[in-house]
């Protein structure tokens, strides 16, 4: 489903260099990448999403189609339609309501059939059990609720790939479990594959493959878990 070769990134203000020689992933093979803070996990996710450009040319294939990380338009469409991104700091727009935040990727794209997405958003809100709060600004929700809204936003357009960057880092154990549950349940429902980076060990049992960042950097992407 996803194959990456020679992914390199050189930090401008540090001698540290991220280097992933080889990373392959099958559809449905949910993968967790673990490692301590500052090892480059978030950079890896941002590179995969095309948010930051790699330092040298990279070979990236998604569903057997080449993706050019330097092609801003292609990566934008990829991010909007095929990728769901769950951020560590939620990245919700505080001045929008719960439902407006979930619908944001559609609002920002040129997609037609908004009604269909509205129905989909309603389903997700119902799944969250937050129907009564749909028009409430997200700033007035709890942190656990906010991250669940962020998960719903990532899954709205039924992406094939979900990147989750430390999705539970800012949550307590109960909320973290709730977020993992929602993420896996919805991913299964829409047949999406998850790549998550985390420094925590909770929730790892849900993943089909768990890699340490050292393994990723060495090109040995066999499951150690």
């Amino acid at each position: 489903m996803l194959s990456v070769r020679n992914l390199q990134y050189r930090y401008s203000q540090s001698s540290f260099e991220l280097n992933v020689p080889c990373f392959d992933m099958q559809a449905g093979q949910h993968t967790a990448i673990t490692g301590p803070s500052g090892c480059g996990k978030t950079t890896f996710m941002n590179l995969l999403a095309g948010i930051i450009p790699p330092s040298s040319p990279v070979e990236l294939n998604f569903r057997d189609e080449p993706l050019h990380l330097g092609n801003a338009k292609q990566m934008r469409v990829f991010r909007n339609e095929s990728l769901g991104f769950v951020f560590q700091d939620f990245r919700l727009l505080n001045y929008l309501s719960l439902s407006e935040n979930i619908l944001l990727p559609v609002t920002l794209s040129s997609n037609t059939g908004r009604e269909q997405w509205r129905t989909r958003a309603d389903e997700l809100i119902k799944r969250l059990g937050l129907e009564d709060l749909r028009e409430r600004p997200v700033s007035k929700l709890s942190r656990g609720e906010q991250q669940r809204v962020a998960v719903c936003r990532a899954l709205l357009q039924r992406p094939a790939l979900v990147l989750a960057d430390e999705p539970t880092a800012n949550l307590d154990a109960t909320n973290a479990a709730g977020v993992w549950e929602l993420l896996f349940e919805q991913a299964q429902e829409i047949d999406a594959t998850i790549i998550a980076v985390t420094h925590a060990t909770e929730g790892l049992e849900r993943f089909a493959r768990v890699l340490s960042f050292e393994q990723l950097a060495s090109g040995d992407t066999e499951d150690f878990g």
Binding site: K73, R76, F87, R91
Partner: protein, 385 residues
């Protein structure tokens, strides 16, 4: 995009409202200043050309114009009616006497003693009722009529005439209302010259058996042969037999304030000015020239105001710029998130442009509202002269 823009602006309504007010006011102040000065110019210019000439006692020319044409300010000097009679003999001059001493409504409405010539020359039309036909009647301007509504009697103010003793107020019967002209005539009360002289105290009526007493030194009648005043002054003219009203002395000696003159030819105008060039007691004034002098002062004040507004505009521009930069910094994460979610840079720019356009549009609306408000509260120039 508009919904997103509105949602953001609603969340920042305090900042947005402040920006709209600042931009709106910064634009409204210079616009209002230009409009108000233009209005002053147009108001004054049209009026200052009609009548084209004024004859009055020597003294301040500007006071003569203000009092005779705009019915404001004080005019201490006076002419005698004889001067008017002299001018009237010239066939090439259309003349109307102006008696500008009395007022009604506690000084709010000037009482103008004049003749029917004034109404014709100023194209004043009696909209309701008729022109005064009897002593004690008056015709009121549209503003006065609006204030009076159905009241048909107007009391003149107690006044000191030409520096003499105080005169009692008279009750004037409203015989007609003038059509609105948007000129000082709208807020004036017009009476015949005889009525004005009655208010002066040159004339009066006696009740049966009241033969009157000798005049005192303060009366305008002082010095007039056979002059006397009734023991009980009757101020309600409706209860007096109008035939009993009589005047003392020679009318030619009675005072008027000025004479409005409409020369029928250029030559007549030039000759009149030459006639009075060396006259020590009387002068001819061209109101248009006095208006030009006044406007030079107004334009000078406007130049100073323009400078103040330009400085204000610069300060506002800096404040708006700071607010926008601050807003960008606060929204950096939000705008980044939009890009991370697949929004193109052009769409982000479109969103920001939409927000600016909405603020600019609302600022223009605010500006128009401010201009209307400021214009409505801006005093007429004549009220601040």
């Amino acid at each position: 995009m508009i919904r997103l823009a509105i949602a953001y602006m609603s969340s920042q309504w305090k900042l947005v409202t402040t920006l709209i007010i600042i931009i709106g006011l910064s634009l409204a102040l210079p616009i209002t200043s230009v409009k108000v000065v233009a209005r002053y110019q147009s108001e004054l210019k049209s009026r200052s050309l009609n009548p084209p000439l004024l004859v009055g006692a020597r003294g301040d020319r500007f006071d003569l114009v203000l009092r005779s044409q705009f019915f404001v300010g004080e005019l201490q000097q006076s002419l005698t009616y004889r001067e008017f009679e002299r001018l009237k003999r010239n066939d090439e001059l259309v003349c109307a006497p102006l008696h500008l001493v009395h007022s009604a409504g506690q000084g709010k409405w000037p009482i103008i003693g004049t003749s029917s010539v004034y109404f014709n020359a100023q194209s004043l039309v009696v909209d309701q009722g008729q022109l005064f036909t009897e002593i004690g009647q008056c015709v009121v301007g549209a503003d006065v009529a609006e204030y009076l509504q159905s009241i048909s009697v107007l009391k003149s103010d107690m006044s000191s005439v030409f520096g003499f003793g105080e005169m009692l107020p008279y009750e004037l019967q409203v015989s007609g209302v003038l059509e609105r002209k948007g000129t000082p005539d709208d807020r004036a009360v017009f009476v015949s010259l005889e009525t004005a002289w009655l208010l002066d105290g040159y004339g009066h009526a006696h009740r049966d058996g009241d033969n009157g007493t000798a005049v005192n030194r303060n009366s305008v009648l002082h010095g007039l042969e056979g002059a006397h005043i009734p023991q009980r002054s009757e101020t309600d003219l409706s209860v007096i037999d109008k035939h009993l009203i009589h005047f003392h002395g020679d009318r030619s000696d009675y005072r008027i304030s000025s004479v409005a003159v409409w020369p029928t030819t250029q030559e007549a105008s030039a000759l009149l000015r030459v006639d009075y060039q060396d006259d020590r007691t009387t002068q001819v004034v061209v109101p248009g020239d006095e208006f030009e002098k006044l406007m030079k002062q107004v334009v000078r004040v406007k130049d100073i105001l323009d400078l103040v507004f330009a400085i204000l505009l610069c300060i506002s521009a800096v404040m708006v710029l700071v607010a926008i930069v601050q807003s960008f910094q606060l929204r950096k994460t939000d705008l980044e998130t939009m890009r991370y979610l697949g929004c193109s840079l052009s769409k982000v720019r479109l969103l920001l442009l939409t927000e600016f356009s909405l603020v600019a549009g609302l600022a223009v609306v605010a500006c128009l509202v401010f201009v209307m408000l400021l214009e409505s509260v801006a005093p007429t120039l004549l009220s601040i002269v």
